[in-house]
Amino acid sequence: MSFWTRHQVFEKNSIILIVGILAVIAIGGLVEITPLFYLKSTIEVVDGIRPYTPLELTGRNIYVREGCYLCHSQMIRPLRDEVERYGHYSLAAESMYDHPHQWGSKRNGPDLARVGGKYSNDWQRDHMRDPRAVVPSSIMPGYAFLSKTPVNGAHLTEQMRLLRVVGVPYSDEQIDNATVDLAAQAASDDAGGADLQKRYPNAVLGDVAGKSSVTEEDALIAYLQHLGISVDFKLYDDKANIR
């Protein structure tokens, strides 16, 4: 059998073909994925990135549970039109504490990577309960039930401990105060807000005075208000992080 006809070995035996396919894909995977774990240039070194607060983390779980990523991406690609519309392109560092990240690939709605601070909590509430009340042409479903569902914090500290195992630097203090911090961030007039902001700089506090219970809506909004605000791009050096 000459070299040029040896491919027939694969074509005539399905088991050998499958093993061959797996081997080729594995090479692709190894070459593309393994270096991400050891190359220092994978994640830029920038200031301002901190782990999610307990309330934001809870909100993130709801974001994942409700499948918001099926319509919204969180990834501003380095392309002119995206940067024009959404702001600075996303950095790897901005999702380094996301397990798993919510980059997504579907944009029925706009990208949410920098939606933090774009709207008020009021607007987020109005929009979440009935998107068409504020954006008449919206095709986003309403999530009114979130405002009636209290958050379930039962597994909060376990989740934070678990995240620590995979590299999110939660301190013991942060984990011990998880429940306190969760309530403090949702309420507006709580003295705990100052402690929270010491533990988690830039945490956006809720603004409903006299709130008695923390709802899933509060958590989701706290999460949305944190998206994309961590890095101060006035101090960011585009040239130093050319990839």
């Binding site: 070459v31 380095p78 392309l79 002119r80 008020s120 909590n121 009021d122 607007w123 954006v135 008449p136």
Partner: protein
């Protein structure tokens, strides 16, 4: 491909096509081993060569301390910075004029006005429309910007301040503050008094179904509300208290809505845009909003 190299005794040359068979045979049915078309084979080789060339020209293979850079020195992040710079260069002449022109003079210059309105409209649709509506017509709790019923003021400078620093946006130190007390919730007025003062406000506004609450409504209004809303309900832009007798309502004129306003107090929140949008865009937005029809 030579048939002789294959030790399969059933391979033979098909007499009709002159092509060898594969040697497989099922109940007398055989399969031709027709070679791939030449064009396909050469295209395949071409893609292999292309991929090798790509690896040389563009960033490709990860190594121990980085990745191969590619001889072109192309990087996606450098490319986008360049693209944005090119874009800004094409816009620079007109944007520079908007930037340098005093705010008051832009509307007098048709060329600048047209440019500012174009830039402003795009920025408005992208950043403001979700609250104020695509036509700036507003929604419940979000003011209509086409009218001359301004809460915080309709002069260019007022509008600019509102856009730059937002309204009740705590993260901005210079934001517009002041909000209405929660008369009902905080027990400043009893439910009956709230109802009376709401009736009085609705009579003032001349609503067809308004019920005049005798004199106690007026007294309650003068004592509790006039300081901000003015004795005749004309409003006060210093404290962002809206006019209560015009036909423009931020939240609605139904009795229940007015009662709820007086009970809950507070006020709407608008984000600050300084920092998020650049100064020239904010200037263009100011002119755009001012020129919608209600500018003063």
């Amino acid at each position: 491909m030579s048939v002789d190299n294959l030790h399969d005794s059933k391979i033979r040359i098909d007499e009709h096509s002159g092509t060898p068979t594969t040697g497989h045979e099922w109940d007398g049915i055989e399969e031709l081993n027709t070679p791939l078309p030449r064009w396909w084979v050469w295209t395949f080789y071409a893609t292999v060569i292309w991929s090798l060339a790509y690896c040389v020209v563009y960033p490709a293979w990860p190594l121990l301390h980085g990745a191969t850079e590619g001889v072109l020195g192309w990087h996606s992040r450098a490319a986008v910075v360049q693209d944005i710079a090119d874009l800004q260069a094409t816009r620079a002449p007109i944007l520079a004029k908007i930037k340098d022109a005093p705010l008051d003079s832009i509307e007098q210059n048709p060329e600048l006005l047209a440019a500012a309105r174009t830039v402003g409209r795009v920025a408005f649709l992208n950043n403001c429309a979700a609250c104020h509506g695509a036509g700036a017509q507003g929604a419940k709790g979000y003011p209509n910007l086409n009218t001359d019923a301004w809460i915080w003021g309709g002069k260019l400078a007022d509008i600019k301040t509102t856009i730059e620093h937002g309204v009740r946006w705590d993260a901005d130190k210079q934001t517009r503050v002041s909000s209405m007390p929660a008369f009902g919730r905080d027990g400043i007025l009893t439910p009956a008094q709230v109802s009376d003062v709401a009736d009085y406000v609705r009579t003032m506004a001349d609503l067809p179904d308004a019920i005049a609450p005798e004199t106690k409504g007026e007294k309650l209004f003068n004592e509790n509300c006039a300081a901000c809303h003015g004795v005749n309900g004309e409003g006060n832009r210093e404290v962002g208290a809206p006019n209560l007798f015009d036909a423009v309502w931020l939240y609605g004129s139904d009795k229940a809505v007015v009662v709820n306003r007086v009970n809950q107090g507070g006020g709407g929140v608008m984000p600050a845009w300084k920092g998020r949008l650049d100064d020239t865009t904010i200037k263009a937005l100011t002119v755009y909003v001012h020129s919608l029809g209600g500018g003063q």
